[in-house]
């Protein structure tokens, strides 16, 4: 196959590209320039798409003896990921930009362009298994990235290769070290790549300005304090609420109302939900028949919980959870899995959590 390897400059995509070469594919490397400011230099585990990352990716491509190019997708990334991120927070929701980037950039903009240029597939360093067109969790549960790929359709998955899903991160680093890749010991990225200092609230305040509003107690209706903008909050959040209540019991964000800018908080007993409603789902394969017993994961590093899936309103889904969950934030993806301890949990699809 003619394969396009998306190479971020990190260890995962480097090894994925190397494995694609080993598998006998005709591989071409591309680094996606996503940052509007390409002079940014990496510091520690933060940030991405810097000049240094492009250099690291190029070094690996040169060692592999494959062609390497940089594709400028900064405009698309800004429109589809960064602006969407800001707009979602402004609307009181909590987006997942990595999921959005996979959906709109890597497996739409890049895959479409790759196909037009006569490539058969895009290979990435995601930790997820993909075989026979079915997407499953990685064998490395701690590094599993199937959640942020759960939005992909079968058509997109048909053009994807994830060679790392069957190995642990330690194994990936070992392969990189065996091959002498300088990125073998490069730290993992943890933060949102376009917020390199990790200060999401500060980033949003710079974009949205201060939008003060009240923090209200759900039980009493009393205003407990004020905040500088609803974008500083996520449903389920406990820290940094800036309010103190006499009973000393911790408070959690229960809901965010963007028009009145009201952040409602409550005690732990009020923070759990046992029914989740989503927008219209996407499926990674054929749409399953409802009702359906499945597991649902409600955020990137959350644990899966059993649920029963039925049809909801407006083409959406209704998920009845087996046990109440805290921190079910509108805007996040509810990714559905069919548990499979042998082959790996199968990703069925997802819907965006509604308020």
């Amino acid at each position: 196959m003619r394969v396009l390897a998306a190479m971020s400059g990190g260890v995962d995509s480097a090894v994925a590209a190397a494995l694609a070469v080993d598998a006998g594919h005709d591989v071409t490397g591309v680094h996606l320039a996503l940052s509007p400011d390409r002079q940014t230099l990496r510091s520690g585990a933060r940030g991405c798409c810097s000049v240094e990352d492009a250099h690291d990716a190029r070094r690996v491509a040169d060692e592999l003896g494959i062609p390497f190019y940089v594709w400028d997708l900064a405009d698309r990334f800004r429109e589809d990921v960064v602006d969407d991120f800001v707009a979602e927070y402004a609307a009181g929701r909590t987006p997942n930009p990595c999921l959005r980037c996979n959906e709109k950039i890597k497996f739409t903009a890049v895959l479409d362009r790759a196909r037009a240029l006569d490539f058969d597939a895009v290979v990435t360093g995601h930790h997820a298994r993909l075989a026979d067109g079915r997407l499953r969790r990685s064998v490395d549960a701690a590094k599993d990235q199937s959640y942020v790929l759960g939005v992909l359709t079968s058509q997109q998955l048909a053009g994807a290769l994830f060679p790392l899903g069957s190995m642990t991160k330690d194994r990936v680093r070992a392969i990189a070290a065996e091959r002498g890749f300088a990125v073998a010991t490069k730290p993992d990225s943890h933060d949102i790549c376009f917020i390199p200092d990790g200060d999401t609230r500060g980033f949003l305040t710079r974009r949205l300005g201060a939008r003060p509003g009240p923090v209200v107690d759900a039980a009493t209706g009393a205003t407990l304090g004020t905040h500088e903008g609803t974008h500083g909050f996520t449903v389920g959040q406990r820290r940094g609420l800036g309010v103190a209540v006499g009973d000393q019991r911790p408070r959690y964000v229960l809901s965010i109302e963007p028009v009145s800018r009201t952040v409602t908080v409550g005690t732990a007993d009020l923070a759990g939900v046992d029914v989740v409603r989503t927008g219209p789902p996407t499926w990674t394969g054929p749409a399953p028949r409802l009702p359906l017993r499945a597991e649902v994961q409600l955020r990137a590093h959350g644990t899966a919980v059993a649920c029963e899936v039925t049809a909801g309103v407006d083409g959406g889904l209704k998920l009845a959870l087996a046990e109440p969950q805290r921190g079910v934030a509108p805007g996040q993806s509810a990714v559905l899995y069919a548990p499979d301890p042998v082959l790996g949990d199968l990703v069925l699809g997802q819907g965006t959590v509604r308020s």
Binding site: T28, H31, A33, R38, Q39, C49, S50, V51, A54, R58, P67, Y69, V70, W71, D72, L73, D75, R76, A109, R113, A116, L117, D118
Partner: protein
Amino acid sequence: MTYLDHAATTPVLPEVLAAMTEQWGRVGNASSLHASGRAARRVAEQSRERLAEALGARPSEVLFTGGGTESDNLAVKGIYWARREADSRRRRLVISPAEHHAVLDSAEWLAKHDGAEITWLGLEPTGRVTPAALADALGDGSDVAVVSVMWANNEIGTVSDVAALAAVAHDVGVPVHTDAVQAVGQVPVDFAASGVDALTLTGHKLGGPMGAGALLLRRDAECMPLLHGGGQERDVRSGTLDVPAIVGLAVAATTAVAARPERAVRLAALRDRLVAGVLEQLPDARLNGAPLDDVLAGGPGRLPGNAHLSFPGAEGDALLMLLDARGIECSTGSACSAGVARPSHVLTAIGAEADRARSSLRFSLGSTSTDADVDALLAVVAPVVERARRAGTGR
């Protein structure tokens, strides 16, 4: 492999390799007073004389440098500093917007950090700077430090009449630097006859080594050094002479200049066939720069080895990638430090719209180019352009 990127760099000539290898086997610092030093100095000075003769300069006008970028920096900054020191009103740099970044960024650095003002020269649609445009920009010249206009453009190959420009500038007492990196060995270059005060050349565009260049600087030109130290090169460019590189540069320049009349005819014929073949298959492709048969002051108005074409609806980097996959090597122009292809500043400077600027490729021929190279390109260019168009502009 089909190498059509000689303007980026061109193969080292066998005689250059032999001459440099011989020097690398010797010891001797050309500044030392003992026998080994004298031997090294003799070789370096012979090279200086040969290079000067090939380019119509006097040996004392040849300053060896580390390449084109250094020579451009030295000329723009050094002459600016010297002229401003002599008269503090002289802060204006008169520059063509189609210059190489070594000139552009030097000028912009001076503007940002050292009080310079830049006057951008208007260009003909071909990219040429006319004497009238220069006269307009200069005014009475009293506040101008230096003019810098390239002899031939590295992207679109357009030649300017540097001698006429020098005459205009000298009328108002302003010195002229020209970047002749692409011109030497391609079109006749005579330093004295051109009248310019400073001229940049580099070895690796001529079949010489990388990292070896020269600035030809008139004896009466005022120029402050960038590099201070041992006082070599008229005290304008300190640093131990790199004798093997200097020998390689001189052999390359003399060989390229001697071969030029025959080679220019041969390359122009190949280039004309390349352009005609592309336009025949892709009638909407567009040649950028001066016409192929353009004549200027009795010489070629366009570099004989240069073909620069736009393919509307396709993106330059997609074209480059598809050609590379088929073993054909060419160039899109410039990329930023991360490697992102940028719309050519040269095409933007001549008023090309974004699509034309983004959809362009440079094919450049050199000493090893053959009919087979042109045939190889013509065999694949139409399907490649069609596929790149299908991929769209991606924006």
